[in-house]
Assembly symmetry: C2
Amino acid sequence: MPPESPTRPGLRERKKQAARRALSEAALRLTVERGLDQVKVEDIAAEVGVSPRTFNNYFSCKEEAVCEFVVERQHRVRDALLARPTGESLWEAVTGAVLEQYSRDGEPDRAYVSRVRALMGHAALRGEFLKAHHTVERLLAEAIIERAEAGDEDVLYARLMAGAVESAVRLAFVEWFTSDHQVFLPTLTRLLRELAAGFPTLTTGSGRPTTDREATTAPPS
Amino acid sequence: MPPESPTRPGLRERKKQAARRALSEAALRLTVERGLDQVKVEDIAAEVGVSPRTFNNYFSCKEEAVCEFVVERQHRVRDALLARPTGESLWEAVTGAVLEQYSRDGEPDRAYVSRVRALMGHAALRGEFLKAHHTVERLLAEAIIERAEAGDEDVLYARLMAGAVESAVRLAFVEWFTSDHQVFLPTLTRLLRELAAGFPTLTTGSGRPTTDREATTAPPS
DNA sequence: CAGATTTTTGCGCGCCACGCAACTTTTGAC
DNA sequence: GTCAAAAGTTGCGTGGCGCGCAAAAATCTG
């Protein structure tokens, strides 16, 4: 047999991956098309050509399947982080990897925004998004630990960094689909910079630190 | 009639509050006693003396009712924040209000830890905890905005601060019920200090900043 | 090919969320 | 107090869902 690659997954594993992908994609597509309530688990399963019972072997509910793409994206963030040059500081590498991933295709168009808005209108999906974001946060934390070659002592610090960064991502995302402007990347950049700067302990004149507002407005695309 | 208090809620509102409380308390108690799977919505409703249908007028599922106490605690954090002296910086006030709330009764005993561990064992409850934490984060953000008298420009900053602080709380909580040691407050204190310090952008010798580890060990109780 | 392992599937059960329409309680104006 | 409107509760019905179980099918190992 040809060497393929070092310990290729094997047919079984590849089929599972494919099924999972197909199910989550079908779930997302159908939900965008018809709306969550008009999609039954049965429909998703039928779309992939698999029994409804099998769907529940992969996902515990349809909302989870719909949000799967959030988790998948984070796997790419992980790869990006591990590929950053070793010269960079940990923070630079992490924020670089995240920004890199989200700037891939620029800001999506208005139609996409309204589709996302429709999705987030359903409470069930908002809840599942939170679960997905938590998974994503743990993935990032593990990637940070790996990149930093952190010992047990630093695990908490890595998790804190992951939590802070993902808070910024989440906020930028909300800002993006809440407003009509294309402000995802500028907002995210600004928030990450503010996290890097930290929170001032001493009382100043105003309640918040003076930050340059350049990052708030969109850069020339 | 006696003046009671300025614009008292009215009987209707008070009854609703009472019902909500009774339901969430019953849900939590029964779940701790028997385990989530052994508690039906019907049981909770019966415990309060209300119809099962009414339960769903207050909570959309039993898990939500179980986690209600998390949200209630945040209302106390809000009050504490608004009561902090005006001399403090925003960060000091926020972290002070949070720590104040969580140091109320010191570290809970081992029995309590194992009960919490049992609760968090169920995936459904973990998910609902995340939802509750998200609610809590928004509450804190609003309280921060109120305290800082922040304009629209600073709303995002307030939300970022709330997100960062609640990340720390969440991490400290996990650390607490994961380990057998009483490390909630020390961990939380340390994480908040690291957030205040920010994340270094420049490359240093090690991947993480040198932080004094005093806060990691428990202070004399 | 043959036996072990893993996955899929059909079946069935109990629970649950929620729409609807009738009924009860609270409210506020007179 | 009386009464009508507003708000909350309840019973009923329904469709869907999550999952345990055991048989069947697919995959892996040698």
